[in-house]
Amino acid sequence: MNACKRTWEVEASRDGRLTGNERMSTERHIELCADCAHERERLEALATALRDLPVRGADELSLRRQRHELLARANAAAAHAERSTSWSLRRKSAVVAALISACALGLLLLWPGSQGSPAGARLVLKPDAFADYTRQTLAGSEIVDLKHGRLTLEVERGDARLRVLVRTPDGEIEDIGTVFTVTVQAARTEAISVAKGRVLARIAGKPERRITAGETHRPYAVSNEGLTVLDPALAPAPPGEARAARALRVHRRTSESPNRAQSSAEGAPAVEPRTAAPAAGDEARPAPTESEVAAEFARAVARVEAHDDARALVLLTLFMDRFADDPRAEDAAFLRVVVLARGSERAALRAAARAYLAKYPHGFRAPEVERLLKESAPPTP
C-alpha cells in the first residue's frame, strides 16, 4: 500500500497528463519519494513485460478480417479527407498534376522512336475527290484534320496501341475499331459511318456517342442529339430471320421523349433513302436493358444446346455485333467457335477462332480456342 498521496502523478506524468511545471515538480518529488520511485519501477516493469511478450502470428481468418476493417477505415478516412480538402490544396494538386503531365508529354515528344505510328500498326486513308484533310503523327497518335469532304479510314492495329483521332471543324471522332468514314460539309460533321469496329464521336454541344459496326450517325439530323441508323449495306451479319430484320430498324441510342418520338416519325428525310424504307413502319427503340441482353444471350445459348447450329451461329453473331461491350460477347465468340467445331467447315472454324484470339488475346477461353485452332489446322504432308 502506497503511503504517498502523489503516486498517481507518476502514471499521469508518464501518460503526458501533466503540464510542464507539474511534470518538473513530479520528477523532483520522485527523486525524494520511495513510494513514487517504486511506482515508477512497477509501471516500467509492466511495460517491459508487455514489450517482451512473444508475438504470435495471426491466423488467416483474423488477418483477412483485420485487413477488411483496415481497408474500410481507410476508405472512410479518404472519403472524409476528400470532402474536407481545402481549395488551396486542390489548387496545389492541380499545379503538380499539370507539371507532371507536361513532363510526361515532353518525354513522349523527345523520346526517340515516339514519332510515327507504332510498329505493326497501319492507317490507310481513302479520301473522295473533294476531301480536304491533313494528317500528322504526334507521340504515337495519328491525328487527321478533316476540313471538308468524305474520308474513309482503315486502321490495322496489330499488337500495337495506335490511337487514331479525326478532328472535324465541330468535333472529333476517336477510332476504337477498324474501318469508318467521316463526311464533313459546310464546316460541320454530316455523317459518320462505321463498317467495322467502333468509334467515339465527340461533337461540340452534343453528348459523346459510340457508333458501332454497321451504323451511320448523323449528328445534326432530326434532333439535337442526332440520329443513328443501322445501315443494311454495312450490317455485318446477313439477316436470315425475323430477329435479324428487327436489328435493321432505326433505333435511338438514348431514351426517347414524346417530342423526339414525334420528330422521328416526321424526320424521315434525315435518314438516307435506303435506310428510310425499312424504317418507315418501325417504332423507335431505346437502348437494350440488361434483361433484354440476357434474354438474347439465353436464346442463342439455347440454340447451341439444341444443336441447331445454323440458327445458333446467326444469333451468336448478332449478339456479338449488337452487344460488343457486354462481357457475354466473349462467351458468344467462344460458343461460335464451339458450334463451328461441331461442323465440318474447318476454314470457318479457324477464322472464328482467330477472330476470338484477336479480340480476346487474354480471354478466359483463349487456351481452349488455341487448342481448337491447332487441332483444326490442315495436316501437313
Binding site: 497528463r17 512497477r42 516493469a45
Partner: protein, 101 residues
C-alpha cells in the same frame, strides 16, 4: 525451453568469436522458466481485457505511441485514452500482483 536457451547461448558464444564481443551471460534455467510463466500469465491477463483497453495499452506500451497519437488514430477523446490506459494497467497489475514488483 531449456534446449532453446542453450542453443541461443551456444550461438551467441560462437558468433562472439568472430565479432570480438563477449555475449551477455545466458539466463539460468530457473530464470527462463520464470520468464516463460510471466509471459503466459501476462498473455492470459491481456486476453481477459476488453478490446478497447487492450488496444490502447499495446499501442502505448508496446508500439510507443503517445496518448495524443492514440486518440487521433482511434478517433477517440484524449481523456478516454488516459482512462482506458489507467484501467488496463490496473487490471493487469492486479492479476500479476505476485509476479511483477
Amino acid at each position: 525451453v531449456l534446449q532453446r536457451g542453450r542453443s541461443a547461448a551456444r550461438l551467441a558464444r560462437f558468433l562472439g568469436r568472430f565479432t570480438g564481443h563477449s555475449p551477455e551471460p545466458a539466463p539460468s534455467p530457473h530464470e527462463l522458466v520464470t520468464q516463460n510463466e510471466i509471459q503466459d500469465e501476462l498473455s492470459s491477463a491481456l486476453g481477459s481485457l476488453a478490446t478497447e483497453k487492450r488496444v490502447v495499452l499495446i499501442l502505448a506500451e508496446v508500439e510507443g505511441l503517445s496518448c495524443a497519437e492514440i486518440a487521433q488514430a482511434l478517433g477517440i477523446p484524449l481523456g478516454t485514452v488516459w482512462t482506458r490506459l489507467h484501467h488496463a494497467r490496473r487490471a493487469l497489475r492486479k492479476q500479476l500482483e505476485r509476479r511483477l514488483p
